[in-house]
């Protein structure tokens, strides 16, 4: 009798779980279900163009998800982001770079070989454009918060327009206090927008912020002063940043690792 009651309870709970999962899928919230995660499909990935990193990411950035590149300044975040954008344009995909503080310099990036007509560059306000860079304290915080607000709105516009293969939002130059002022629901909305699309959305920042349920976080670290070569004080030459990347994902990766530490040749001598 008791065994029969347990079986009934299990069936009811299984039914309730199925109903709950169906409701989540209907509202496109099934990304939180760990049971529904298929193994990553390489065609559903946007390669970064960095072979070693792609191998660890399982093919690249997952499409339809918000992923992140995080790490302190000078640790190769910019290089990984621009390499991803370049690789996407070379595949014939449209890409968008939401440049929050207008720090992108196309000249050096041209050496990566991007197809510029497929590259939408959305330029925010440059640092120093208002007040000549002499704003301080609260005023600067306000200016940066406005720039962040416009950048997030621009990203939302690009994602809602559709047709892009990769959208990169650069928040790396913003202070942590400004970025943390954005409500978390904003990032959830970005994830809802990109869900189901072919686009992969990548946010570049200092800290983990808004990774989607099936997204990836590439956490970078590097030698503090970069890699130099040459003997003698007058023969030194900057040859790279010596970046290492740690991939963080919500569930087990294809090889079974949870976190992987790899070397990424972010900057090599030309």
């Amino acid at each position: 009798m008791r065994r029969r009651k347990d079986e009934t309870l299990m069936a009811v709970s299984q039914l309730a779980r199925t109903d709950l999962e169906a409701l989540l899928r209907k509202r496109q919230l099934d990304g939180a279900l760990t049971s529904a995660h298929p193994l990553p499909d390489k065609t559903a990935m946007a390669p970064t163009g960095l072979a070693a990193l792609d191998a660890r990411l399982g093919g690249g950035w997952p499409r339809g998800q918000v992923s992140e590149i995080v790490g302190p300044a000078c640790w190769g975040r910019w290089r990984v982001a621009l390499s991803s954008l370049t690789a996407a344009t070379r595949r014939g995909e449209l890409v968008a770079l939401v440049d929050t503080l207008d720090v992108f310099d196309p000249g050096p990036a041209a050496a990566l070989g991007p197809h510029w007509p497929y590259w939408l560059w959305v330029r925010g306000s440059a640092l120093g454009a208002r007040g000549g860079g002499r704003l301080g304290g609260r005023a600067q915080h306000t200016v940066l918060a406005e720039a962040l607000d416009r950048a997030v709105k621009a990203t939302a516009l690009v994602l809602s327009a559709g047709g892009f293969g990769l959208v990169v939002l650069d928040l790396a130059e913003l202070p942590r206090a400004v970025v943390r002022g954005v409500p978390f629901t904003t990032w959830l909305r970005l994830q809802r927008m990109v869900a189901g699309q072919e686009a992969a959305c990548v946010i570049v920042g200092a800290d983990p912020l808004a990774r989607g349920p099936r997204g990836l976080t590439v956490s970078l670290s590097a030698a503090p002063q970069g890699r130099w070569r040459g003997q003698g004080p007058r023969a030194r030459l900057l040859c790279g940043l010596g970046t290492r990347a740690c991939v963080v994902r919500a569930q087990r990766g294809p090889e079974g690792e949870r976190d992987v530490l790899i070397d990424v040749p972010v900057a090599e001598a030309g």
Binding site: D105, P106, L120, A126, A154, F164
Partner: protein
């Protein structure tokens, strides 16, 4: 019941003088693409005048002749750059016969300052050739077409081969019928005998060598022999020399003017109420475009304001569009960026039409978003961030650090990237196919930040700058100096077309320095002798 059609009569008005290309007064000449002739408000209440060129003294001479012909007959045809043909059948009751009609046309043309030769005949070919060759008013009796044309020089036939010119009122260009060639303007028959017209056409040269100098000589040649030697072209020329038509009159139709306007009872202050007005105007405008299988490539928005000024916006569209929702969004976004200075009294929209777009998508190329979606996105981004803040990067042929340019983002109009296999097995090797890569990528400060640098033995040893985020930090590694300079020749005459920041000369020594917080590029401006932070390696 028997219905008797009036006997065919054609009137030809032939300009005496070769018209010089004259642009219509008041026409808005805009570079880039097809363009409608749009007139702004005059005094805030006038509207675009579709009959602008009907007025005497306005438009090109051909337009004036076209207007005269239309006053007499609804069926007119532009034949070449100097002639207009009108169907004169059934006009007897109005004008009292062909001679009277011819006289009336000549008088009206003279009164409007456009002297013309007039000829009336039962065939359009005879009327055209007679008007081209004979001054004054000529009436060729029915049945005597060949006899009337016989004495005319053979070069008169070139009047039939002139390319059709496009009246300034916006008609579509139409290829000359008969013969696939287009000839340069032939000298008028008044110049016949002066030597002009020789060697203009190989057929004419051949005929001249045969001793055929008049239309009568050509008309009596045996058609079979002529066909053997000159083919269908020879037969067609002989048919014309006899005054016979090889095609009927083709009615000339003006291109429509795609315009809508609305007078408001009360001024509109905001964009939200204006959107309803725009929807009311754009729906019929786009329906009109759809009926003609046209799309708008340029949309003019004229807003008459309550302060008696006119706010004009010109939207250049990347492809012909006729979706009212997309156009309304684009207009509203543009007005959001460039709002009118006062309340709006009147709204007028004028679309410059272009033929509808037929797109054949590739099975092998990755599909791109529709151009209207891209242009809407760019317009929304422009409204959010300001004009010129989004686009595709474009390199500039300069050594100036940080210089760049932006091109309009129009991926549909560009060539696709070279084909590249990206199968799953090749993903891992994609990085290996990348070209030579730079040492690192710089996050460049668009406005270099002033810093204080302590220099020992010509090398920076300490960097300080609160704005740059480095405070008295010792330099761990340094590489440089890398001297770069340029545009010193612009000192005396800076380029007024370029912003001052990009037209000034530069002369700097650049250093890559590693401090505890990261690796930076700094430089010493050799003009001001100040140190600046150029960017961060990342």
């Amino acid at each position: 019941m028997n219905t008797t059609l009036p006997a065919p009569w054609f009137a030809c008005l032939f300009l005496r003088e070769v018209p010089a290309p004259v642009s219509a007064p008041g026409a808005v000449a805009q570079p880039g693409g097809p363009e409608a002739v749009a007139q702004p408000f005059r005094g805030g209440r006038q509207e675009l005048s579709p009959g602008l060129f009907d007025a005497p003294g306005c438009g090109t001479p051909l337009d004036r002749v076209l207007a005269i012909a239309r006053d007499c007959s609804p069926r007119v045809e532009v034949a070449g750059s100097r002639a207009v043909l009108a169907d004169a059948a059934g006009l007897t009751r109005l004008f009292g016969g062909p001679p009277a009609l011819g006289q009336h046309l000549a008088e009206v043309a003279a009164a409007r300052g456009t002297p013309v030769r007039v000829a009336l005949a039962a065939t359009r070919t005879t009327a055209l050739l007679s008007a081209a060759a004979r001054p004054g008013v000529t009436v060729v009796p029915r049945g005597q077409e060949a006899a009337a044309l016989a004495p005319l020089p053979i070069t008169t036939l070139l009047a039939l081969e002139e390319p059709v010119s496009q009246p300034a009122s916006g008609s579509r260009p139409r290829r000359a019928q008969g013969g696939g060639r287009h000839y340069r303007m032939a000298p008028g028959p008044a110049l016949a005998g002066s030597g002009a017209g020789q060697a203009l056409d190989p057929v004419l040269d051949t005929l001249a060598r045969w001793g055929v100098h008049t239309l009568g000589d050509l008309a009596v040649l045996p058609p079979a022999d002529l066909f053997e030697r000159l083919g269908q072209t020879g037969l067609r020329w002989r048919q014309r020399a006899r005054g016979e038509d090889d095609r009927p009159l083709v009615r000339h139709e003006d291109e429509e003017i795609f315009e809508q306007h609305f007078d408001l009872d009360w001024p509109v202050e905001g964009l939200e109420p204006l959107s309803f007005v725009l929807a009311r105007l754009l729906d019929p405008l786009c329906a009109q475009l759809a009926r003609r299988d046209r799309g708008a490539v340029v949309l003019h928005v004229w807003l008459a304001l309550v302060n008696k000024t006119v706010h004009h916006r010109r939207l250049e569209l990347p492809v012909p569009m006729r979706d009212p929702k997309v156009l309304r969004t684009l207009v509203l976004l543009d007005l959001e960026s460039h709002p009118p200075a006062a309340g709006i009294d009147r709204v007028q929209l004028v679309a410059a039409p272009a033929p509808g777009r037929i797109v054949q998508h590739s099975l092998l190329r990755r599909p791109l978003p529709a151009p209207d979606r891209v242009s809407t996105l760019v317009a929304r981004l422009g409204a959010l961030l300001g004009a010129g803040r989004c686009g595709a990067p474009r390199l500039v042929d300069s050594h100036r650090p940080g210089i760049f340019d932006m091109a309009p983002f129009a991926p549909e109009a560009s060539d696709p990237p070279p084909p590249e296999s990206h199968g799953p097995d090749e993903v891992a090797h994609e990085g290996a196919r990348m070209p030579a890569e730079p040492a690192a990528l710089l996050r460049r400060r668009r406005f270099p930040v002033p810093i204080q640098v302590t220099v020992q033995d010509g090398r920076p040893v300490r960097v300080a700058g609160r704005q740059a985020g480095v405070d008295g930090t010792a330099v761990l590694e340094a590489s440089g100096p890398w001297r770069t300079s340029g545009e010193w020749w612009r000192t005396a005459n800076p380029d007024p077309a370029r912003p001052r920041r990009t037209s000034r000369p530069w002369d700097r020594d650049e250093w890559d320095v590693a401090v505890a917080g990261g690796v930076y590029r700094v430089f010493r401006d050799r003009i001001t002798n100040g140190w600046f932070l150029a960017g961060t390696w990342d």
